[in-house]
């Protein structure tokens, strides 16, 4: 496993930005069916089991982590598309949020996709705080979109408190997952 990560990093390093030569690697994006299965599992966890694991009114958002990770590995367009799908599922299950999760998640997918194939996407030390930041940005976008739809949440202070806790939980989960599966912390690629 570690050899695989080291090989992938070496391939990335061999293709520094500014190099005029053709890329020395070809990225291997994650299989779409694997990500789709992960999304389904995340939704089931969040709607059935996660309420029992809530910490101070906040829960881990596995959906955010999966969308951000997939966007980092594939790019903005795939990130936006996957974000729209994941967000639509969340809106359907929440029932009272209109289309707020749909476009908040798509926004996050698109934003994370901008960092695909950059050093940030392969730097584990940046991925953990990045998970917290992405969660916070998505939740803020959600509140803005709720307001735009006329579905304003009347207790913003309370929700901001929950958002901060959710960010911390997401960062913790990202750290644990990257410790167990270090290969997720670097893009897969093969030599041209």
């Amino acid at each position: 496993m570690k050899v695989d990560v080291a090989r992938t990093r070496a391939l990335w390093t061999a293709n520094k930005p500014g190099d005029s030569a053709a890329p020395a690697y070809v990225p291997d994006p994650p299989a779409w069916w694997g990500v789709a299965l992960a999304l389904v599992a995340a939704l089931v966890l969040q709607t059935s089991v996660a309420p029992w694991l809530a910490v101070r009114g906040a829960r881990v958002s596995f959906v955010t982590l999966i969308v951000a990770w997939y966007a980092l590995r594939t790019g903005s367009l795939h990130g936006v598309t996957f974000g729209l799908i994941a967000g639509s599922c969340e809106d359907a299950l929440a029932g009272s949020t209109g289309v707020a999760w749909t476009f908040a998640t798509a926004f996050v997918g698109g934003a994370c996709g901008r960092f695909a194939r950059t050093w940030l996407a392969d730097m584990r030390i940046a991925l953990v705080p990045g998970a917290a930041l992405v969660t916070l940005v998505r939740d803020c976008a959600f509140l803005v979109l709720m307001q735009a739809q006329g579905l304003a949440l009347p207790l913003p202070a309370l929700h901001f408190h929950a958002m901060l806790w959710q960010s911390a939980l997401d960062a913790l989960v990202a750290l644990i997952v990257l410790q167990i599966f270090p290969q997720l912390g670097a893009a897969r690629a093969h030599r041209r």
């Binding site: 089991v49 598309t81 359907a92 299950l93 929440a94 029932g95 999760w101 749909t102």
Partner: protein, 264 residues
């Protein structure tokens, strides 16, 4: 690009028309099966663990309940006698008719994020559930239906910040609006001359989703600021939302939807 555009347009169209999108209906219908299965497994596991852990406490509680049951049975017999002797039997029949039959449902899912308080039921439009139907359990008011799919429906709990239910303090018939605070309920817009007390029962007023007199909770704190137009009370809900399982969905009160008839 085409897929992304299609999803965005479908979602925007649903926002414009105010109806659930095809995506929302499909996802909600499929998800209810997975959620039902997970909820069933959880229910068995929780029940087994709780029965082992709570055995000594349950024995004592059982004895206390037997005593209470005896007292209540005696009181029930006395009240039945009083009811049978009541002169206006027609009024009671009318009240019973207003209750109407309900749809029994099981809670199978929760809000995917923690930013709102909603639950998913395993019965939907095919069972006759509609938006704004009231949801109750043995202890009182749970919430109201905000979205329905053919096989599932979503309920906004009374503890959600967006929930507003007309309410009455039972002792003095003072009116207010019960609003969620995410963990409990706040009774707002209560007149300053209302003499609220801690422990007062708060029930529903005649409204869109509920008939009058259903228990919401009891007052645990009163805020009576000087110079304010209204006073506010914190209400602890009678329903234990942490272990919500079986609920009853009742249709909105038809008389609340009708315009008021002119007085003669």
């Amino acid at each position: 690009m085409i897929v992304a555009s299609s999803i965005a347009l479908i979602q925007l169209e649903s926002l414009k028309t105010g109806k659930p999108s095809v995506i929302a209906v499909a996802v909600a219908s499929v998800a209810v099966y997975a959620q039902s299965a997970t909820a069933a497994v959880q229910g068995v596991a929780r029940g087994a663990a709780a029965s082992v852990a709570d055995a000594p406490r349950l024995a004592a509680q059982n004895q206390a309940l037997r005593d209470k049951n005896r007292t209540l049975r005696l009181e029930n017999e006395r009240l039945r006698e009083a009811l049978a002797a009541a002169p206006d039997a027609t009024a009671i029949a009318d009240a019973n008719a207003r209750f109407g039959p309900g749809v029994e449902a099981t809670v199978v899912g929760y809000d995917p994020e923690a930013l709102s308080r909603t639950v998913t039921l395993d019965r939907g439009a095919l069972a006759g559930i509609k938006s704004n139907d009231g949801v109750l359990d043995d202890d009182g008011v749970v919430g109201r239906v905000v979205a329905t799919a053919p096989l599932s429906s979503t309920v906004l709990l009374v503890t959600d910040g967006a929930s507003k239910v007309p309410a009455i303090v039972q002792r003095g018939r003072w009116w207010g609006i019960a609003t969620g605070t995410n963990t409990s309920v706040r009774l707002e817009y209560v007149s300053q001359d209302a003499k609220l007390k801690v422990g007062d029962a708060v029930v529903t007023g005649e409204g869109r989703s509920f008939r009058a007199g259903l228990v919401i909770g009891s007052v645990t704190r009163i805020d009576h600021p000087e110079g304010a137009l209204y006073q506010t009370a914190l209400v602890t809900p009678s329903v234990a939302f942490g272990r919500l399982s079986h609920v009853l969905v009742v249709s909105p009160n038809p008389s609340a939807a009708k315009p008021a008839e002119p007085s003669e």
